[in-house]
């Protein structure tokens, strides 16, 4: 899958999230008067919005990779962090709104929309943290923060300008996932491209400090369909300020870089890695 295809798919997934968020938030709104408290109502509204966007964003990487386990764990983490993020976001957003919007009166539409967009920006940021937390990746957290802030600001602004919550939330969802994917594309420390076999063409962005490669589904790159690869973890890629390194998880496991067996290698672009039957190319994004 090409990089632009991936961004497109992420955006589409975000749009679905926006659609689901719209439906959930609408359902809650129908029951607003039964809540008895604006606090509770806002909590549930924020949670619903976060749930929808967080869940789809969490599942996005699994969908791209066709990895069911990753879809499910991503969904779980995305849902949990999305709910939490939605609640925190709605509180911060609401206080910002109360702080700044009370004297909006008849100010130009653009400024009012901008203030609201700032609130959505906060919401966007919080609901985009799921994948970063799931993978315990500082890089992914950063993409979530920046992608969520940018997408939230842009989507939120359009949401207010359009005055249609349906169109607005769809754009908001799409914008958050679009910017997330864009960040991931542009700021990761290169990718591993699978060169052969059933997963050929798949790319793994090196955007967390530690990535595991192995046969089992718990790995960041789960290499199903290849022989000679350890179940739990075969090799580990470490990304730090000194560079990108690869090493076998155990000294007993075979790892080749440019057809040479190695215990630890600093990767440079165009290096060819071999683990069992699988081969990878380390390349620039």
């Amino acid at each position: 899958m090409t990089e632009s295809g991936k961004i497109g798919l992420y955006t589409g997934i975000g749009v679905i999230g926006g659609l689901a968020a719209f439906a959930l938030v609408g359902l809650v709104s129908l029951m607003k008067e039964a809540f008895g408290s604006y606090l509770l109502f806002n909590i549930v509204m924020g949670a619903c919005f976060g749930l929808a966007i967080g869940a789809v964003l969490g599942s996005a990487e699994g969908i791209v990779h066709g990895n069911k386990k990753k879809i499910l764990t991503g969904l779980l983490y995305g849902t949990l962090t999305g709910i939490a993020g939605g609640i925190v976001g709605v509180f911060l957003g609401q206080s910002l709104l109360m702080r700044f919007s009370r004297n909006l009166g008849d100010v130009p539409m653009g400024i009012s929309a901008l203030i609201h967009a700032l609130c959505w920006m906060i919401m966007g940021m919080f609901v985009s943290l799921g994948e970063g937390i799931r993978s315990r990746s500082g890089y992914k957290l950063t993409y979530g923060i920046i992608g969520g802030l940018t997408g939230g600001l842009l989507g939120g602004f359009l949401l207010e300008i359009l005055t249609s919550r349906l169109a607005g939330l769809i754009i908001l969802g799409g914008a958050i996932t679009f910017f997330y994917a864009l960040m991931e594309k542009n700021f990761s420390r290169g990718v591993l491209r699978v060169l052969n076999g059933s997963m050929k063409g798949r790319k793994l962005a090196l955007n967390q400090k530690h990535l595991t490669l192995g046969h089992g589904n718990r790995n960041d790159l789960a290499l199903t369909g290849y022989g000679g690869i350890e179940e739990k973890c075969h090799a580990v890629i470490t990304v730090n300020s000194d560079g990108v390194f690869i090493e076998p998880f155990s000294y007993r496991y075979d790892l080749f870089v440019n057809d040479e067996k190695t215990q630890k290698s600093k990767l440079k672009y165009e290096d060819v890695i071999r683990i069992g039957e699988a081969r990878f190319l380390y390349e620039v994004k």
């Binding site: 295809g5 798919l9 589409g12 679905i16 999230g17 689901a20 719209f22 938030v25 609408g26 359902l27 129908l30 607003k32 008067e33 008895g36 408290s37 604006y38 606090l39 109502f41 806002n42 509204m45 929808a52 789809v56 599942s59 699994g62 969908i63 066709g66 879809i71 609401q94 109360m98 702080r99 919007s101 009370r102 004297n103 009166g105 008849d106 609201h116 609130c119 959505w120 919401m123 919550r165 349906l166 052969n196 076999g197 997963m199 050929k200 063409g201 022989g227 000679g228 440019n258 057809d259 165009e270 290096d271 060819v272 071999r274 069992g276 081969r279 190319l281 390349e283 620039v284 994004k285």
Partner: protein, 469 residues
Amino acid sequence: MKNRIYPLPILLGLLLMNLSAENISITGIDSTGLLSSQKVDLYVTHTDDDGNAVENSGPLTVFESPDGKEWNPVKSELKIDREANRREGIGFLMLMDNSGSMYDSLEGKATDDSAEQRMTHAKEAMRTFMGSIEDSRDRVALVAFNTDYRLLSESTRNRSILLEQMDRIEKPVPEKAYTELYSSLERSSQFFKDEGEKGRKIIIVLSDGENYPFFQYNGAPHPEYGERLFTPAEAVESLNREGITLYAIHFGIKQDPYLGEIARETGGQVFDARNGEQLALVYDSIRKAVRDEYRVTYRAGVFNSPRVFVKIATSAIESEARYYYNSALFGDSGNFSLPILLIILAVALGVWLLLTKIRFEQVNRAPHLELIGPGGLRKRVQALNDDKTVIGTSEKHDMTIAGNGAPSEKESATIIYDEKKQAFTLVAGEGEATMVNNREVTRQDLHAGDVIKVGDNLIIFDDEGTQVR
């Protein structure tokens, strides 16, 4: 139809009856606790036939309504605090007109004698007022406005600071002598929030003329507000959103046509004062009225409307309706019915589920070469159908590499298929080195996933039958 003419004593009697009937009104609403605790504070004035505060109002009922039409009584218990304003003190913001006309005489004539000027009288009345707050917990802040809005003193109980700051008010130059009344009201509505003040919030504006904005009458954009013209409606909304009650005092012959209405819309009143003594009396009566208010705290309902109307009633009379705002991030819900929302949700879930089933990465299982240009920009796939496939720079070669990063030799490498062994072998061309997996080779058996480098171009070899063992 003729106008009915009453003898003077009857007319006076009717007027008095009208003026002095028992009255209950909501003079202030504080909804800042709405989001955190669902509580709303109403400040209520209840006066008897003589205009004095009623000590015991008897049983009270608060009504709420999302539209001002259908009213529901609040079922939760009302907490009534008759001493709230005395105990906690009142926050006053004194908004003083410092336009050019404030330096005319009380009769509206130009004068250089400061003793005759309105401003001198106004300052004297303010001194009296400040003297009266000394023994209370009330706080006073001072703002002077003309073309500019100038905060002279933040909220304080220190009389000498206030007086010192008040004495800094000076006659403005013509450029600064405009009366930015509405913009100053709008701006002052943010004062208490910026100061973090809680409790009862009152703005008393003293003005001797009409709203006379700089931009409208000078033509040049206002240094701060530019070409924006403020309206009375904006002032009302801002003050109401902040739960501030405005009391307005006309001090002079000219009056702003909307100032009184703005004050009443916020639960306040409008007064006329012709001289310093009257002004001091007005200040005193405003403060007394606010101190006599009592606070009714209740648990508010939740409504699907941006404004919630509220009124209060004794067993005999009820107040006029007021309103507060409940601004929410999510805004209005729109007009989508339950079935439509459920359908949208089902569609979203269905599409998502479909995406999880689709394989986004297609695998080419036949033997082939995949060219990745410099920077990963170009991409071409060359099927390996023949016994011999030549990679080179010319069009006649099986796989042509041209342009940036193309190899210098015409024939860079040849891939030969051995049918017996069912294997592919790379034979390097002469000249520039050919690499396989970053190692220079002259001849090399190829395995799926091997990376051939020709010039700056990477070519990936793949064949399902040649998996690495």
